[in-house]
C-alpha cells in the first residue's frame, strides 16, 4: 500500500507541477514555490498561447489529432484484418508472413525514420502530411495481438455458421468477428494512439513546414528557442498541459472497454 502511494505521488507530481506552473505568470514562475499556486491565471496563459503567432498551437493540436486519431483508427483496422486473416485462414506462407511481422516488432521506429526519409525524398514527398501519416499506419505489434486474440476469441464454429447462413467473409468479419475482438481492438487502438502521439523523431526528420507539425514537435521547437526568447518558456508549459489532455481523455474514455477485455480473457 505504501509502495503504491509513493508510486502514485511519484507519477502525479510532474503533472501537478505542470498544472501549477501553467497557472502562473511569467514573473512568478521562477520566483515562487514550484509546487504551489501564486496568482491563478491559467485562462490568461491559455489565451496568450492560443493567440501567439496566429494560433499556430491550435493548428498543431489539430494536426496531432489528425495524425494520431487517423492512423490509430486505420492502423487498428489494418492490424485487425491482418491478424484475423493470419488466425483464421490457412494459406501457404502464413507462418513466414507472421514471423516477418513479428520481426517488425523488434525494429524500433527511431531506426526506421532516416531510411523512410530517404525513401520519401526519392518520390519528393517529404514535408507533406502523408510523409508522417503513412508510416504511422504500420503496427506490427497490433497484428500480433489481433492474431492471438482472434485465435482465442473467435470460434471457427461461429464463422462456419455465418457461412452457412450465407454471409460473405468480409461481412462475417465486420459483423461477427470485430465485435468479438473489440476489447483487443481497443487495446491496439490505445497503444497505437500513444505510440504515434509520442513519435517525435519521424515528424522531426520529415517536416520542415511549421504548419504541418504535430504538437510534440511544435512545443519542442519552441523549447529549443527558450534561450533566445525566454518568454516562450511559459507558453511551452501551458502548451504541454493542453497537449496531454487528449491522451488523458482517450484513456479515461476507453479504459472500461479495455478492462472488460482483460477480464473476459482471464475468465475464459
Amino acid at each position: 500500500m505504501l509502495v503504491m502511494g509513493v508510486c502514485t505521488v511519484y507519477f502525479l507530481v510532474p503533472i501537478w507541477w505542470l498544472f501549477v506552473g501553467s497557472s502562473k505568470s511569467r514573473a512568478q514562475f521562477t520566483g515562487t514555490a514550484p509546487l504551489w499556486f501564486a496568482d491563478f491565471d491559467l485562462a490568461g496563459n491559455v489565451r496568450e498561447l492560443l493567440a501567439y503567432r496566429d494560433g499556430v498551437f491550435l493548428r498543431w493540436m489539430v494536426n496531432s489529432l489528425a495524425y494520431t486519431g487517423g492512423s490509430a483508427l486505420l492502423g487498428t483496422l489494418l492490424a485487425a484484418m491482418c491478424g484475423y486473416a493470419l488466425a483464421k485462414y490457412r494459406f501457404p506462407g502464413r507462418e513466414t508472413l507472421f514471423n516477418v511481422v513479428l520481426g517488425g516488432v523488434l525494429v524500433p521506429a527511431t531506426a526506421l525514420a532516416l531510411p523512410l526519409f530517404l525513401l520519401f525524398s526519392r518520390v519528393e514527398a517529404t514535408n507533406t502530411f502523408w510523409s508522417v501519416f503513412l508510416p504511422s499506419l504500420v503496427n506490427p505489434f497490433g497484428v500480433y495481438l489481433a492474431r492471438i486474440y482472434a485465435a482465442a476469441s473467435v470460434p471457427d464454429e461461429l464463422l462456419e455458421a455465418a457461412r452457412i447462413d450465407g454471409s460473405g467473409e468480409v461481412r462475417s468479419f465486420f459483423t461477427v468477428s470485430v465485435r468479438l475482438m473489440f476489447p483487443a481492438l481497443v487495446t491496439i487502438f490505445l497503444f497505437h494512439f500513444v505510440a504515434v502521439w509520442n513519435n517525435f523523431l519521424l515528424p522531426l526528420i520529415m517536416l520542415g513546414d511549421e504548419r504541418l507539425f504535430p504538437v510534440t514537435l511544435g512545443l519542442y521547437s519552441w523549447n529549443t528557442q527558450v534561450n533566445q526568447l525566454p518568454e516562450l518558456r511559459g507558453l511551452v508549459i501551458v502548451g504541454a498541459l493542453l497537449s496531454i489532455a487528449p491522451l488523458v481523455v482517450a484513456f479515461l474514455f476507453l479504459q472500461r472497454f479495455w478492462r472488460s477485455g482483460l477480464g473476459a480473457g482471464a475468465v475464459k
Binding site: 511569467r26 514573473a27 514562475f29 521562477t30 520566483g31 514550484p34 524500433p108 527511431t110 531506426a111 525514420a113 532516416l114 531510411p115 526519409f117 530517404l118 525524398s121 526519392r122 519528393e124 517529404t126 514535408n127 517525435f200 523523431l201 522531426l204 526528420i205 517536416l207 520542415g208 513546414d209 511549421e210 507539425f213 514537435l217 519542442y220 521547437s221 523549447n223 529549443t224 528557442q225 527558450v226 534561450n227 533566445q228 526568447l229 525566454p230 518568454e231 516562450l232 518558456r233
Partner: protein, 443 residues
Amino acid sequence: MRMSLRPVSALLATALLLAACSSGGDDDASNAAGAASCAPSSGPVTLTYTSWIPGIEEVVAAWNAKNPNIQVKVQTGPNGNGGTYQNFFNQIKAGNTPDLGQIEYDALPGFRVQDGLTDLGGCDIVAKAQGQFVDWTWNQVSFGEQGHAYGVPQDAGPMALFYRADLFEQHGIAIPKTWDEYAAAAEKVKAAGGYITNFSQSDVNQFAGLAWQAGGRWFANDGKQWTVTLADDKTKKVADYWQGLIDKKLVSAVPPWTSEWDNAYNSGSAWTWVSAVWGANSIATGAPKTAGKWRVAPMPQWSAGESVAGNWGGSSTAVFKGSKHVYEAAQFALWLNTSEEALSLLNAKANLYPATKAGATLPALSKGVAFYGDQKIYEVFAQASGQVSPDFTWGPTMTATYADVSDGFKAAVSGKGTLTEALTAAQASTIQTLKSQAIPVKE
C-alpha cells in the same frame, strides 16, 4: 544566435549512426560547380530558406513584398543542435536541401567537410560586401581564406560583464577589471552571502568564449588536415582559473537555462554573468525582480590595461550546394544581413546583434535600456565586437566535442576530475571522432 543545450542528442544518436553508416560513395561529382555558377537566373525564382529565428517570417515577408521576382519561402523548426542540423545533413544526403539555411558559426566547418555548402566567394556581390562585416565574423564564414565565403555572417555574440551594480556598491566592492580582481571580488561576494557567478557546467560555448578571449585556439586546419588543441596552454590557464573558483566554492554550478538558474539571478544569489550581448534579454526576462539593478562593463582582462573580448554564439546564412539559384540566394542573404530594415526587424523580433559594422549604429542599439538603468549597454558590446580576435576556428564535429567536454565539466563540478582533465579527454575523443568519419587529423 547562441548555442545551447543539446537535449535530443541521445535521441538523434541512432539517426547519426545510420547516417554515418550509409555515408560515403556518391560525393565528388558536385565539386565541379563552385564559383562559376553565380549567374542570375532568368525569370521569377522561388527560394526556400530554413531558419529557427523567432519571427523570421515577418522579416522574409518584408523582402517578398519588395521582390516579386525572388520570392522566399521560409520554414522553421527546432534550433540547429535541436535537430535542424541533422535534418540538413539528411537532406544533403537525399539531395533535397532548401536553398538557404541558418547555420551557426561553430557548425559551419562540419557542413563544409560534408561538402554541403556553396562557396559564395565567386559571387562578386558577396565578395564586395566583405568590408561591411566585422572582420572576425567574416573569418568565421571564409575560414580565413581569401576569396571564399561559405555563408554570409548574420549575427554575433560579443561578450561583456553583466553585474548587479546595487549589490557591488552596497558592499563596497569594486567592479573587477581583470580576472585577478574578479577572483578577489568573488571572495568578497561569498563573504556577503552570494556567488559571483554561475559556472555553466553543461554549456561549453560560454567556456569556449572565455578561452577565445584568453587566446586559446581549439582547432586549426592547414587545408590538408585538422589539428585539435582543446587543451592548449591558454585554454588550460582559463580552465585552471575556473577550477580554482569551483574548488573554493566561490561560484555556483546550477544547470544553465533552467528555472533554477533564472531564480539564482532573480533572487540575487548570483551577482555577475560574463555573457554575450543576447544575455541582456535572458537576464531581463529570467530575473524580472532585479529590473534597474544591472549594468554592463567590458569583460575582465587577463592583464591590466588590455582590451580583448570573447564571443559566444552567432550564426550565418549559408547557401546549400543543391541550390539552383545561387545568385538570387546570395542577394537575399545579403539583404537579410546587411540592410537596416532586416537588421532592425531581426533585432526587434529575436534580439539578434548584427554582424555588420554599421549594424552597431541601429537606432534600437543606440538607446538606453530601461532594465539596465537606462545604460546604453549596446555601446559596450559594439566595442567588444571590435575586440574579438579573428582567428578562432571551430572543428568539424562540434556536437560531439561539446558533448564530451560537457560530460567532463559536469563531473568536474561535482568533484570528480578537473576542467583540464575534461578538456584533455575531450581532445582525445574528438580526434577519435574525426578519424571515425575519415576526416584527416594530425595527432
